[in-house]
């Protein structure tokens, strides 16, 4: 049983996790103030014979304080969050040396196109495999997303990467995997009857393993 986000396996995991924890702390403080406050009031101010409520219409000072503190907190949170947002999603953040892989989503499978030996997508030695994403570890990978039919969403929880694949659009999403192993890719946007089983296997491999696999594929092997 997991009680937290799945263990992270990309360079995005740490900043997102830190931001998540920061928000958890901030909202936790607010949560405690409100819930404990409510509980305390419910007990302390319950009606008893002879008690009288305080006749007051409010306090401008209180209003200013509990407006300013949340407002400032939200602005700071926004600034910090935006820094990571730009790093992850901005087109210009895709590292120039990223290894490009094409992922074409369709009902209900992922067609993954590899650039082959020349390392370039869109050339003759590209090859396509269904439902298997192989990537080298510790190397930026850029996924070029497209869709055949409806909106799907490319989602690998451990990479902390999610990006919708939209028909009529060509969208690039990048990541850098940090832990070799096998993971799962799921579709995170309702795409029809088979949405629930639009699953692919993701292999993060050492450079040697990856190259070996690439050679085997180019030679016509099926894995």
């Amino acid at each position: 049983m997991h009680w937290w986000l799945p263990p992270g396996a990309s360079t995005f995991a740490a900043p997102i996790e830190h931001l998540f924890v920061a928000i958890l702390i901030l909202t936790g403080i607010a949560f405690v103030i409100v819930e404990v406050g409510l509980a305390a009031f419910v007990i302390r101010y319950r009606a008893r014979p002879g008690r009288k409520a305080l006749y007051t219409h409010g306090s401008t000072r209180a209003e200013v304080i509990w407006t300013a503190i949340p407002a400032v907190t939200m602005v700071v949170l926004g600034i910090v969050s935006n820094h990571y947002w730009v790093m992850i999603k901005d087109k210009r953040s895709v590292p120039p040396n990223a290894y490009h892989i094409g992922v074409h989503a369709k009902q209900f499978e992922w067609q993954v196109t590899y650039p082959g030996k020349d390392g370039k997508l869109g050339t003759d030695d590209d090859f396509t495999i269904r439902n298997q994403l192989h990537v080298p570890v510790d190397q930026p990978v850029a996924v070029e997303l497209s869709s055949e039919d409806v909106i799907h969403s490319f989602w690998v929880p451990q990479f902390r990467l999610k990006q919708d694949a939209v028909p009529g659009m060509h969208i690039v999403a990048w990541f850098q995997a940090t832990v070799p192993g096998e993971y799962e890719l799921g579709c995170a946007e309702l795409c029809g009857m088979g949405h629930y089983k639009m699953r692919a296997r993701v292999f993060v491999q050492t450079v040697d393993e990856f190259n070996a696999w690439m050679t085997q594929q180019a030679a016509g092997g099926t894995e």
Binding site: F12, F41, V42, Y45, G168, E184, L190
Partner: protein
């Protein structure tokens, strides 16, 4: 002119005497009386709430026990659940229609159709709405829309299946989704519902602006009416956008247009922009009236004025205004320009501020009050506590990098349900109980109401809190069988726990249903002002008569003058708005409106 029918000169004996006697049909079925219309909305919406709940039970069965035959499932046709085992194509109909019925035909009409209609004229001292016949049409169109939507289950290929958010191109391409004529029925239903909403809003807005009793200045209007007024403005501006989108979707399917189909130059994202431009104000439509009614109940239960009344009004306006510029936060992962994502993040984080202000003001109202825990108060405090959780969870999703792992997971589902159920529905339990005597002349059972509240509170949190956890763990929305994914298998015990809790939660609601129905006939006869409240409605008999007041009341003070020195001097802790003290002056009589 719509009000000519009321203007029969002659004796004003009882409340109804200025009418020729009405037949049963005129009085209860084709009524133009805002109170009857509100009650009609109440019965119909509670029915759709039940429908939505039954759909949820099936969803929870499948998620907790994927692929197992559902008890009682054998009554479902082979196309939905052969042998009681829910099919994937039926499952996505269930999730779609659960959301659709709950949002459009349960919560929205319960909050607006019922309480805008019932409360507004009563609480501002008007005899009825500005346009009573249009008001009647508003109800019948809403009912028609609901029936059209419901028909979707009974046509070939069943109900729509693209989620209540109906994303195109899936929704525009029946060949890709498998739906049949029901998708077109969806569009028709939405257009009809939009008309109903606009008609209602025209009434609510005009009535609040023009038909307030003398002395009922803007800043003496009760917060429930402020909230309903602002909600009506949201509705009148947002629903037509959805109508436009629904029509474009309908045309894509039936006229061969290509608004949302990229194959011929359309744009898939256009649907999302249109839908959420409507959809975000819509969710504020689903919470603001609840907040307004909670304010009434908390002030009443605390025997204290609302803390920061003016701030509360500005917070309502602030939430409504900001609500127009946050829609892109539903689209952070959509492929929309990330810079747009940044701007929507800022506006979304900011909208937390007026909501926080409201929570603190409710707490301020309770602080040093003399708290009476009648059933409405229990539910109102429950609202504050649960809405806070729902609002705080929103902050996680507002921070765009954190939205990456959370978008389209059960974390979102948890958030939605904390604000809609923990929020709106708890507020509704409180409101229904609070205004029941004014509607039906009887009280609901207090002991039953208390048991219902506590059991609901417990089973509700058991159902929805763990959804945050499984969402963090990565369980996507709208998937038929989480156990397909290895990384989700370890969480399945929590899905089972949630499902059992949900079944218990649903069962507990039978208590409320029984209380509501039984009390109609057998509830204690209600005194005129059972809650010692200040609102104008409590100066009328229970149930309130047709036409409300014989003579428009005068208003002498604000709505929350509890425990004031003047009240003390009278030996009580409340001071109704229309009560004239020796020290009060009559407000100026209202000037005549122009008739041209």
């Amino acid at each position: 002119m719509t009000h000519v029918a009321h203007a029969k000169p002659g004796a004003h004996g009882g409340g109804d005497a200025h009418h020729a006697p009405m037949s049963f049909w005129q009085k209860y079925i084709f009524s133009t009386d805002h109170k009857i219309i509100g009650i009609q909305f109440l019965f119909v919406s509670l029915f759709f709430l039940l429908v939505g709940g039954l759909l949820a039970m099936q969803i929870r069965w499948q998620l907790g026990f994927p692929g197992k035959p559902m008890p009682g499932g054998s009554i479902l046709p082979q196309t939905m659940a052969p042998g009681g085992v829910i099919l994937p194509e039926y499952y996505i109909q269930l999730v779609t229609m659960h959301g659709t019925f709950m949002v459009f035909f349960a919560i929205m009409p319960l909050l607006v159709g019922v309480y805008a209609n019932f409360l507004i004229p009563l609480k501002i001292g008007a005899h009825d709405m500005a346009f009573p016949r249009i008001n009647m049409w508003s109800f019948w169109l809403a009912l028609l829309a609901g029936l059209i939507m419901f028909a979707g289950f009974f046509v070939p290929d069943g109900a729509p299946r693209a989620g209540w958010t109906m994303y195109a191109p899936l929704s525009a391409r029946p060949d890709l989704s498998g739906v049949g004529v029901a998708q077109k029925l969806w569009s028709v239903s939405i257009v009809v519902l939009g008309l109903s909403s606009v008609m209602g809003s025209v009434n609510y807005i005009t009535t609040v602006i023009n038909h307030r009793a003398p002395g009922m200045t803007w800043f003496r209007i009760p917060l429930s009416v402020w909230a309903l007024f602002i909600t009506a403005i949201l509705g009148v501006l947002a629903l037509p956008v959805l109508q436009g989108a629904a029509i474009m979707l309908l045309f894509d399917q039936s006229l061969g247009t290509h608004f949302f189909d990229p194959v011929a130059g359309g744009q898939a994202l256009l649907w999302q922009h249109l839908f959420w431009f409507f959809g975000h104000p819509e969710v504020y439509i689903l919470i603001l009236p609840a907040m307004g009614m909670v304010s009434e109940i908390i002030a009443n239960g605390s025997r204290k004025p609302i803390f920061g009344y003016h701030s509360m009004v500005f917070a309502i306006i602030g939430i409504a205004f900001l609500g127009w510029i946050v829609w892109g936060h539903h689209m952070f992962m959509s492929g929309m320009n990330p810079t747009l994502g940044s701007t929507f993040m800022v506006s979304t984080l900011l909208i937390a501020v007026p909501s926080a202000i409201k929570v603190f003001n409710w707490m301020g109202t309770m602080w040093r009050g003399n708290l009476r825990f009648h059933v409405p108060m229990l539910n109102a405090v429950g609202f504050v506590s649960m809405f806070t959780i729902g609002g705080l969870s929103g902050i996680f999703m507002a921070a765009t990098p954190v939205d990456i792992p959370l978008h389209d997971t059960q974390f979102i589902v948890a958030h939605i349900h904390y604000v809609l159920f923990g929020g709106s529905l708890f507020a509704l339990f409180g409101a229904i109980t609070f205004w029941y005597p004014k509607m039906f002349g009887r009280m609901m059972s207090e002991p039953l109401g208390k048991v219902h509240f506590w059991l609901t509170f417990i089973t509700y949190n058991m159902t929805f809190f763990p959804m945050h956890i499984i969402g963090m763990g990565g369980q996507m929305r709208r998937i038929y069988d989480p156990t397909i994914y290895d990384f989700l298998k370890p969480q399945q015990p929590l899905n089972v726990f949630i499902s059992y809790s949900a079944f218990a939660l649903f069962a507990v609601q039978l208590l409320f249903a029984f209380n509501f129905l039984w009390s109609l006939k057998f509830g204690k006869k209600a005194p005129q002002n059972p809650w010692d409240d200040n609102g104008l409605e409590w100066s009328l008999p229970n149930p309130a008569p047709h036409g409300n007041w014989e003579k428009t009341p005068n208003v002498y003070r604000g709505p929350y003058e509890f425990s004031s020195p003047e009240a003390e001097a009278r030996g009580t802790d409340f001071l109704p708005q229309s009560l004239k003290l020796p020290t009060d002056h009559d407000p100026l009589p209202a000037p005549l409106p122009a008739t041209h």
